[in-house]
Each structure stands twice: as C-alpha cells, then as structure tokens.
C-alpha cells in the first residue's frame, strides 16, 4: 500500500512509465499467439471502423432479420415490449433527455449487436446480418434512410445525432488532479 504522501511520486512515476515502455520481457512467461488466435478473438470495432469485416446490409433487409431474431425481446418494430427500459430507441439519456441517442458512433451499435445480440445467441449473426440489423436500428431511430447501404466504408461515416454534443473524453483529467468543490463531472 502506498501512503498518501507519495501521491506526487506516483504521478511522476506514472509519467515515467508511459515514456519508458519499450523494453524487453523480464519473465518470459506466456505463449506467442498465432495470427489466427488473435483474429478469432479480435472483435472490437473502433470508431474509425478499420476492423469492420466485408459485407453489407440495408434497413429493408434488416426488418426481416429483426422480425425473426430480435422482435421477441425488442417488440415488433423495436418499440420495446418484453424489456422494461425499452432497448430501442437507442440510449437511455439521463438526467437530461436528449432527443436521440447517447451513442456517438454507429460503429458502437454494430459492435454491440455483433458481440452481444441476439441475447440468447450472441455471436451467431453473419456480418451481413449485423450490417442489416444495424441499418434497421438506425433507420428506426431516424438516423439513416431505409435504402441506405451500410458497409465497412459507409458505417463509420454515419452521423449520429449527438456526435457534436459530446464533451471530449474526460476533459483535463490527470491522475490525482484536484477537482473544484462540489465538482460533478
């Protein structure tokens, strides 16, 4: 346990760590994964969408998939039903309700549907199905048109309604930084 007086030292050490990252392994434990090992598990999609797989889909195609694989929990048109807080419209804005969504990038929706939906069988959708289901969800939230084609190129370009209303990630955050009285982030 560090004691409280070492806070400054900790901050300095932290900065030092970040600059002195490049060094050889000390313990030589662990195994080097193969390319395939990594590829099979590397499902996270960044806001710029560089990891998105080939494939495409529209809201029109998504409507069929939604009826088959999603409506049981999300309601016939994604209008709730079965889920108390209503999973679609996206987001659960609070305490001040925003018009649409707190999701700043469409890649977030793609990634979540791909990794976690349908809840009873996550990971079971093909890339095309995920593109189509994402298109349907965005269309139902008036973010894209019914015939817009979503693919690895177009998805990251979708302008989410509140993209520009977001503050930069943790403005001014530094470890141990003093915050003003009654600070509420």
């Amino acid at each position: 346990m560090r004691c409280s007086s070492s806070l400054l030292t900790a901050v300095i050490a932290l900065l030092a760590c970040v600059t002195a990252l490049a060094q050889g392994p000390t313990y030589q434990l662990g195994r080097t994964p193969s390319e395939e090992d990594i590829k099979a598990r590397d499902i996270a999609i960044s806001p710029d969408g560089k990891e998105l797989p080939p494939g495409s889909g529209t809201a029109k195609e998504g409507a069929t998939i939604f009826a088959q694989k999603c409506a049981a929990c999300h309601g016939p048109n994604g209008t709730g039903g079965g889920l108390v807080r209503g999973v679609i419209p996206l987001g659960n804005a609070k305490p001040v309700k925003l018009a649409f969504s707190l999701v700043p990038y469409a890649t977030t929706v793609w990634d979540f549907i791909n990794r976690a939906m349908p809840q009873t069988k996550p990971g079971s959708l093909t890339a095309n199905e995920v593109y189509a289901a994402t298109a349907y969800v965005l269309y139902r939230n008036d973010i894209i048109n019914e015939t817009d084609v979503l693919d690895a190129k177009s998805l990251p370009k979708v302008q989410m309604p509140n993209r520009d209303n977001f503050l930069p990630v943790q403005p001014g955050w530094k470890p141990g930084a003093k915050r003003p009285f009654g600070y509420y982030p």
Binding site: C17, T108, Q170, R179, F181
Partner: protein, 412 residues
C-alpha cells in the same frame, strides 16, 4: 438460458487455442442445466457458513431492470471494519448470466499495439510477481437518491460499493512483458461473459495501479466477481473493472463500446454528453444508526460509517448531529488505505430529541463532500436532478425521530 452457450463456447475455445478436445464445459451459464463435471459438495464443515441466526444478506431494490436478477446491494448497515465478505460484495451486471469458467481452459490474450502479443494461462499469471491491495469498488450509479421505502435503507441507496483485499499481477507488468508501442494511448479490456463486456481505459492508468486480480479476500475471486480473473481499477467507477477478463488490446483511441458510450454515458444540465468520468468523488455515509433502523431508547450510542474517495486516501471524516450546523471529527480506523473503504467512529449520546445525523468526507487532495444543495447550486439545477444522476456523492442526512425511528432526510 443455456441455449446461448454453444456459439459462445465455440468462440471462446477458438480464442483459447490449443484447446482441441475440450469442447464441453469451458463456458456455461450457471443457470444452465448441466452440472459441473468435477463439482464437489461444500457443506458447512468443508466451507464454514454464518450462524443460522444471522441474516446478513444482499438485497435488491426490486426495481425492474433488464438485469434485475443481478442487481444486488451490500448490507452496509450490518457490516463492521472495512472488508466486505466476498459473498456480500455488491453485484451489478451488464452481462447475460454469470459465466461458469474452468480456469484450466481460461486464457488472457494481450495484443494490439505491442511488440510481442502474449497469451497467458492462469498458472502463468500466478507465477508472476503478485501484490495484495485493499481497494473499494463502487458502481457509478451508487447513492442515487431513491423515492419511497427503498430510500429508507443505507443498503439500497449506498450498497453498490464494497471493499476487498485483491491479489493479482499489476497490469503494467503484463504490458511491459508485451512491450507497448509508441503511439498507444488506451487499452480495451474484454470479458469472456456471453456479451463480451468491453471497456476502454487510458494507458496511463493501466501502467499505474490497475490489478489483474485472481484472489479476493484470500480465496479465488468468486464467479459473480469475475472468476478466475478480473480487472480492479482503483478509485474509478466500477464499470471499468472488467470481470472474467480474457483480452486486453492496446490501442490508440477509446473504442466507445456500448456500455461506456451509450449505456453508461450521461448528459450534463447544459445538454452536453459525457462519455468518461472515471474517478469517483469523496463520499461518506453513516451506516449505523441509519434509515429504517430504530433506536431502542435514549442514552449512549456509537455512530459509525464508511468513507472512500477516488482521489486516494480519506483524510478526515466529520460527523454532525445537528443537521450540518456543526461538525466534529470522527476517529478513522487505522491504517487508512488509499482507494479503500475507511471506517469512522464517534461516540454519541441521544437525548431523545429529534436530530439529524450526517457525515462529511475530505480526501487527501482536500476535496470535500458537498451537501445536495451545494452540489445542485454548483450545477445550477434543483436537487431532484440527482434522482437520475450517476456519480452523485452528496452528504446523506438521517433523521432520528422522537420515537427512535430513523428516516432518510435528504429531501426533508
């Protein structure tokens, strides 16, 4: 439940690699029907249980949520000292069932912007230098004011925080083994639950004090708490402390995963959205006497409670028995650990009159816990704004009535 596990199991095993032939039983929902193959019975002699007269248990508000079956609060009013027994640790999951993971099959993959991606087995993780540290975890939604009977209980209002001794490897050791490349600034951590719960964390914190923990209070981390291995991110909202940890990807930007960008994002009164808030503010709460309890008569009592802060160590806790007009410094249980619950105690004599008891925490940075009125004034909102606000750390007043009954006086 249980039907989801097939594809999940397959994905998990593909990632685990070199696992051919163990296609069954690696990951299974605990709500599934299959009994664990090597399940051993644990009776009261093999593993001791509390007295049958003791009913110290976790509780839920009963408020329906999509995840209501896993929203359970710690009974702060019944606990002493600073350690939360593992079975009473709060539970607030965003996953589809607690995964049932065989540690022999579990792997931790570290890759991305590193010179040497590595896969660790649990045995290998345990061969690395370990540390034990006492850290609290707190849900970002903890202490939201509640209306109605639920608001009369310290457990239901403030019980989404617990404190454990965690043992594991510093994440910085693992990252240095892999050799973080220039330009990297974040890590993306992923769990091996069915939803593959995901969170982005700044590299600076990852290189500082984050633990990859496999033990809690001396025994293996419980399944509900992330068995066999989880992150513990000291002082930060507990949504970052990814359970059932199976992958760390070193990257150059936050990935805006669902549970950090949509589900746990907030808006400020000015309509601006917030993605990342990380650090929790200084907080304290009197756990005894507290809402819903009844003092049997006037005379001597001990006022006791817990304080904690994302800013490091609690420097002082003051207690008021007159609704905040005057405060007296309480005694802090020693040693005070950074990023840990801190027990405070102060003797008190009840005259039988109506009084309001409350506590105020000041942390090592000098940050002071505000009253709800002060917090509202700063934000230029009315106090009921905080009904829906995360990260609320206002002072909690408890009113003792003449008949000894105690009620929540936050909005009185």
């Amino acid at each position: 439940m249980g039907s989801h596990s097939h594809s999940d199991r397959r994905r998990f095993l593909m990632g685990g690699a070199a696992l051919a032939g163990v296609v069954t039983g690696a990951v299974r929902s605990v709500r599934g029907q299959t009994p664990a193959p090597e399940a051993r019975p644990r009776d009261n002699l093999a593993y001791g249980q509390p007295s049958r007269f003791d009913d110290t248990i976790r509780k839920t508000t009963g408020r329906a949520t999509a995840i209501s079956d896993t929203a359970l609060m710690t009974p702060l009013q019944d606990l002493d000292g600073i350690i939360t027994p593992s079975g009473l640790h709060f539970l607030m999951d965003h996953v589809n069932g607690v995964p049932d993971i065989d540690p022999q099959q579990h792997r931790l993959l570290i890759h991305g912007m590193v010179d040497r991606p590595l896969i660790y087995t649990m045995d290998e993780l345990k061969r690395l230098p370990s540390v034990s540290r006492i850290y609290f975890l707190e849900c970002n939604a903890n202490s939201r004011p509640l209306r109605g009977p639920n608001g009369e209980s310290v457990q239901l209002v403030h019980g989404r925080t617990s404190c454990s001794e965690w043992t594991g490897v510093l994440l910085s050791i693992l990252l240095k083994e892999c050799g973080v490349q220039k330009g990297a600034s974040w890590v993306v951590a992923e769990g091996s639950d069915a939803n593959k719960y995901t969170m982005s964390i700044p590299l600076g914190k990852a290189m500082d004090d984050i633990l990859v923990a496999y033990a809690q209070n001396g025994e293996p981390v419980r399944p509900q708490q992330g068995y066999p291995v989880r992150l513990v991110v000291p002082g930060w909202e507990a949504i970052r402390s990814v359970k059932w940890l199976s992958r760390i990807k070193v990257v150059d930007q936050p990935y805006m995963a669902w549970h950090e960008s949509g589900n746990n994002a907030d808006t400020r009164p000015d309509g601006k959205g917030l993605w990342f808030r990380f650090e929790l503010g200084p907080k304290s709460v009197i756990t005894r006497p507290s809402g819903g309890q009844r003092l049997p008569g006037h005379g001597p009592y001990e006022i006791t409670g817990l304080a904690w802060t994302g800013g490091g160590a609690v420097r002082k806790v003051e207690v008021s028995t007159d609704g905040g007009r005057t405060y007296k410094e309480a005694e802090l249980q020693q040693p005070v650990h950074r990023y840990a619950h801190t027990r405070f105690r102060i003797p008190w004599k009840w005259s039988g009159e109506e009084v309001v008891l409350q506590s105020r925490c000041t942390d090592e940075r000098g940050e002071v816990q505000p009253t709800i009125a002060e917090a509202a004034k700063n934000l230029r909102v009315t106090p009921d704004y905080f009904y829906e606000a995360d990260h609320f750390n206002g002072i909690q007043p408890w009113k003792v009535n003449r008949d000894g009954s105690i009620q929540n006086a936050l909005f009185l």
